[in-house]
């Protein structure tokens, strides 16, 4: 028996060409480790990407890989899954690739529930084209194409996914390898479109946009790692989220001595889309940033299941063209 593959076995011979210090490196490591952990078969695994720094990803993962065109990876992946539903397909996209030029395709791949993992590397900027503001950039982002600051309101990737009908929505941080790995495993285990937003630091064009909640010293207070069935606590258990039925909003409450009893704190129910909506809409910095599996709907059949009308494999033929040619009315011209 051959030894199980390690993270290193998923590295290719290609020189990785991201800027030194780019968050993409950490994500690549986490993905390679996840592949090893889940016992992925490189011959059955495909990484599909669009265009962008993030979309160079497939060249660095030793499995099948396809670097498509800008924004179209979800559409390509859908065709691939229909042709071969057995493949394990990961889609890698960026905030520009997946939400501006490819927003339409992402919407439809999610609502169709194609069984792929979609990893959206959100750096709130167009990295590859040298730093223009993106659809996730905050208002006021100064960039070569918005020297006075951008004026358009950003889209929240996870809220977009929720609105699109995604059945699995999770969030992680590039440098938090352990937590990201767990999140990726959960995404992989989900049957259907699993959407994961990864906060990724573009050290060159948008350095530290996420530092207000990713920095070590603020992380405890500024992040909440949600887990199904567990109370929504953060700051080492000192704070929690409770629901105010008067305002229909979440509130941050101190827990324990001088605060509210723990029973007041909401328990995370990943199957509740209304709660997902609230967790994803929490304004910063008054609230922590929700991370982990925020929404996981009860299992529903993946799109590619049954696509070939119940046949065992794509292209299996119950009929012959020779017979189909004679469907309808046929007449015979006799000789002579």
């Amino acid at each position: 028996m051959t030894a199980p593959l390690t993270a290193k076995d998923f590295a290719t011979d290609q020189e990785v060409r991201w800027c030194p210090g780019c968050g993409d490196y950490a994500i690549l490591k986490a993905v390679q480790k996840t592949l090893a952990d889940i016992g992925a078969n490189p011959d059955e695994t495909v990484f599909v990407s669009g265009i962008g720094c993030s979309s160079r990803f497939p060249y660095y993962v030793k499995s099948y890989g396809f670097h498509t065109i800008h924004g179209r990876a979800p559409a390509f992946a859908t065709g691939l899954k229909l042709a071969n539903p057995d493949l394990d397909v990961w889609v890698v996209t960026g905030d520009g690739d997946g939400l501006s030029i490819g927003g339409n395709h992402l919407l439809h791949a999610l609502r169709r529930n194609v069984n792929v993992q979609v990893l959206l590397f959100n750096n709130e900027i167009y990295g590859l084209t040298k730093g223009q503001y993106s659809p996730t950039s905050r208002i006021g982002t100064r960039s070569p194409s918005s020297p006075k600051g951008s004026i358009d309101a950003p889209v929240s990737p996870c809220l977009f996914a929720l609105g699109a009908g995604a059945k699995f929505i999770a969030r992680g941080i590039d440098t938090d390898a352990k937590h990201l790995g767990e999140t990726l495993k959960a995404a992989h285990a989900f049957e259907g479109a699993a959407f994961v937003e990864i906060f990724q630091n573009c050290i060159v064009y948008n350095a530290d946009v996420f530092s207000s909640f990713t920095e070590k010293k603020v992380a405890d207070d500024a992040q909440i790692h949600v887990e199904h069935g567990k109370p929504l606590l953060f700051a080492k258990g000192a704070k929690g989220l409770r629901f105010n039925p008067q305002t229909f909003r979440l509130e941050v409450a101190a827990v324990g001595e001088g605060g509210v009893p723990q029973t007041d704190i909401l328990v995370h129910d990943e199957t509740n889309p209304a709660l997902a909506q609230l967790l994803l809409s929490m304004p910063q910095p008054d609230f922590p940033v929700a991370l982990g599996v925020i929404y996981r709907a009860p299992a529903a059949a993946a799109f590619e299941k049954g696509f070939w009308a119940g046949r065992a494999r794509p292209g299996e033929r119950a009929g012959r063209v020779a017979d189909a040619l004679r469907r309808g009315s046929v007449w015979t011209k006799k000789a002579g």
């Binding site: 396809f66 696509f307 011209k333």
Partner: protein, 635 residues
């Protein structure tokens, strides 16, 4: 009463009415009856762009034309000999098409002030002399239908809708046709609605009986159209869209691969999607994507996954697919792109036909991005064209354009059902064995080891053991497929892509001359749906003693190797096409041959007379000798 035997053993009948009058069904059933009678025919539906335009308006007129004959029928006919008009608007729109002496059958129940107003007609055309040149038969079709179906239990509205079957009954009598097959069809079709079934049958019989006893002053004529000389065998009626769908299914079967057809609805391409959606049992699946870009990308994803990816649209949607087609070229993956052309630019004339996307297919991409282009010559030919396009896509690992148009998609005619055993299997370049080596370059070289003749690379799909590799739209190293920005490599890859498409010429049939001499005074060159009309025009010219030839192009990129020499053998080349001269440009570009363009962009197919006139006008004067007698005397 004596039967009329039309002069050319053929006759053109046109049914016209409101979209809701059921003229398409009426036409289709008359065509079916024509087929069973052994006559040859060609049909052409002429729909309005609106789904249900206001009743009685000229822009809501829907028409169906059929040319039927006891001889070979090549087109749906230049001008109707018989027009059945269900309302004043239908008469107004179609009157200009009629030659003097045509027979006009009017549904007089609709000839009233209200309907004249809707059609913007000032006075009753029956009284203004507007119909003086025609033979007019007035029949209150609506009233007679209502009377005939009164026992069926149908509401007045539904009873009125039986009038197309009343008209069918009358037409069947006029052509001496058997009613039994139509009865059987009605019994099958309306089995679930017994009242509609009863109403339609009653109407059919009443129409027939009415015509037979001719309870009116003007006698209804009868026409005699015998069986046409067709080679023995089994036939069916087929539209281009149906033939194309079956051809794609056949290609999948011949290649033993699944076919994944990815499309987004657009007129006039949608019928292909609809037909294929019912062919699941033939190993075909259809994916209705969110837009044409997604459709093209999904098809490429499918091809990468080892299925035959097919995408289809009309010009505006093809424009959206352009970038993705470039990806398939770069990644060297098979893809069939079907374009059912329509009038443009922009939204243009969605329901009208044109051949104006030839530039788009041959030249219309960024960078040097050649693609083979094949055009179907008519409805039945779509079957073979689909098989041929797929064969080339798989052999050369390239996208292939298959051009058809709104006319071909919707037109129908008898089709000799092919024998699947006559088709060679469709082969592809098999994936290599995973090399037993630690050097990753060995695997890469194996994956990119192209066939020396076709330059097609092995079709390696994910899931194949030991062959995992990475590809994409970035320029690849010619040997390893790794990303390469090397100057010399890009030069070599660009040349390779050009040579690959050029190599298709080695595999296609040399250009043949369809009628007429292999060299001579004038060749009429055509491509796509003009085949039938050019055939008839050249035939007519030859009967007049003009020694014209017909040459019909199938592959437009690359052109057959012998085409240049062949065309140089004619003093003049006339090129009719439904655009402003796109194929003319192509021939000038590729062969440096000047042609006389004959361009028509009215949204309507060419008429035989238009091409015949052009042949007469451009036929070299010096070649005009009183031919048949001279030849005969010499023998």
């Amino acid at each position: 009463m004596t039967k009329i035997r039309p002069e050319h053993q053929s006759i053109v009948v046109r049914f016209a009415g409101d979209s809701g009058d059921g003229v398409q069904l009426l036409g289709a059933q008359f065509a079916e009856s024509t087929a069973l009678a052994g006559a040859d025919f060609a049909t052409f539906p002429d729909f309005p762009a609106e789904i249900r335009a206001p009743v009685g308006t000229t822009f809501g007129v829907s028409a169906f034309q059929i040319n039927l004959g006891a001889r070979r029928i090549a087109t749906a006919g230049d001008a109707p000999d018989v027009l059945v008009a269900f309302n004043p608007a239908a008469l107004k729109v179609n009157l200009p098409l009629l030659p003097k002496g045509a027979l006009v059958i009017l549904n007089t129940d609709e000839f009233n002030e209200r309907n004249f107003a809707k059609a913007n007609i000032r006075a009753d055309p029956r009284e203004t002399g507007a119909l003086a040149d025609y033979q007019v038969i007035e029949i209150p079709i609506k009233a007679l239908t209502l009377e005939a179906v009164k026992d069926s239990g149908l509401s007045r509205r539904d009873a009125e809708r039986c009038k197309n079957f009343w008209a069918l009954g009358a037409i069947l009598w006029m052509f001496g046709r058997d009613r039994a097959p139509m009865e059987a069809w009605i019994n099958r079709k309306f089995a679930k609605a017994p009242d509609v079934l009863a109403g339609n049958l009653a109407a059919l019989h009443a129409g027939h009986a009415y015509a037979e006893t001719a309870e009116l002053s003007a006698e209804i004529p009868q026409f005699e159209i015998g069986a046409a000389p067709m080679s023995p065998g089994d036939y069916r009626s087929i539209t281009g869209a149906e033939a194309l769908a079956l051809g794609l299914a056949a290609a999948g079967e011949l290649a033993d691969k699944p076919v994944l057809f990815c499309s987004y609805p657009i007129t006039p391409a949608s019928p292909l999607l609809h037909h294929l959606s019912r062919m699941g049992d033939l190993g075909v699946a259809t994916f209705q994507a969110e837009d044409e870009i997604a459709a093209a990308c999904a098809a490429i994803g499918a091809s990468y996954g080892g299925a035959i990816g097919v995408t289809s649209s009309s010009g505006p949607g093809i424009a959206l697919k352009t970038e993705a087609i470039g990806l398939a070229i770069a990644a060297e993956l098979p893809l069939v792109v079907v374009n059912s052309q329509r009038g443009g630019p922009s939204t243009g004339l969605p329901t009208k036909t044109e051949q104006s996307d030839l530039y788009q297919a041959v030249y219309g991409r960024n960078a040097d991005a050649p693609v083979p282009v094949i055009a179907a010559a008519g409805p039945g030919d779509c079957f073979d064209a689909a098989i041929e396009a797929t064969r080339v896509a798989l052999r050369h690992m390239t996208p292939v354009f298959l051009l058809t148009d709104g006319y071909i998609a919707n037109a129908a005619g008898p089709w000799a059902i092919p024998d699947m055993a006559d088709y060679e299997p469709i082969l592809h370049n098999a994936p290599p064995q995973a090399p037993d080596s630690d050097d990753p370059a060995d695997l890469k070289r194996a994956i990119w080891a192209r066939d020396p003749e076709s330059l097609g690379r092995p079709w390696v799909a994910p899931g194949m053991k030991g062959l995992a590799h990475r590809i994409g739209g970035l320029e690849k190293d010619i040997e390893t497929g790794d990303i390469s920005y090397e100057a010399a490599n890009h030069q070599a890859m660009t040349e390779l892509r050009a040579r690959k498409v050029a190599s298709v010429a080695k595999f296609i049939r040399p250009q043949e001359v369809e009628q007429g001499p292999e060299r001579g005074p004038l060749a009429v060159v055509g491509w796509g749906s003009t085949h039938g009309v050019i055939w008839r025009a050249v035939e007519a010219a030859r009967k007049e003693g003009l020694d014209a030839a017909q040459i019909h192009l199938r592959w437009l990129n690359p052109l057959p190797d012998n085409l240049g020499a062949l065309l140089r053998g004619y003093e003049r080349v006339l090129l009719p096409e439904m655009n402003m001269g796109q194929c003319a440009t192509l021939l000038r570009d590729r062969l440096e041959i000047g042609v006389i363009p004959l361009n028509k962009v009215s949204g309507q197919p060419f008429k035989i007379a238009e091409i015949l006139d052009a042949i007469r006008a451009h036929y070299p004067a010096a070649a005009r000798t009183p031919k048949p007698a001279a030849v005969g005397a010499a023998q």
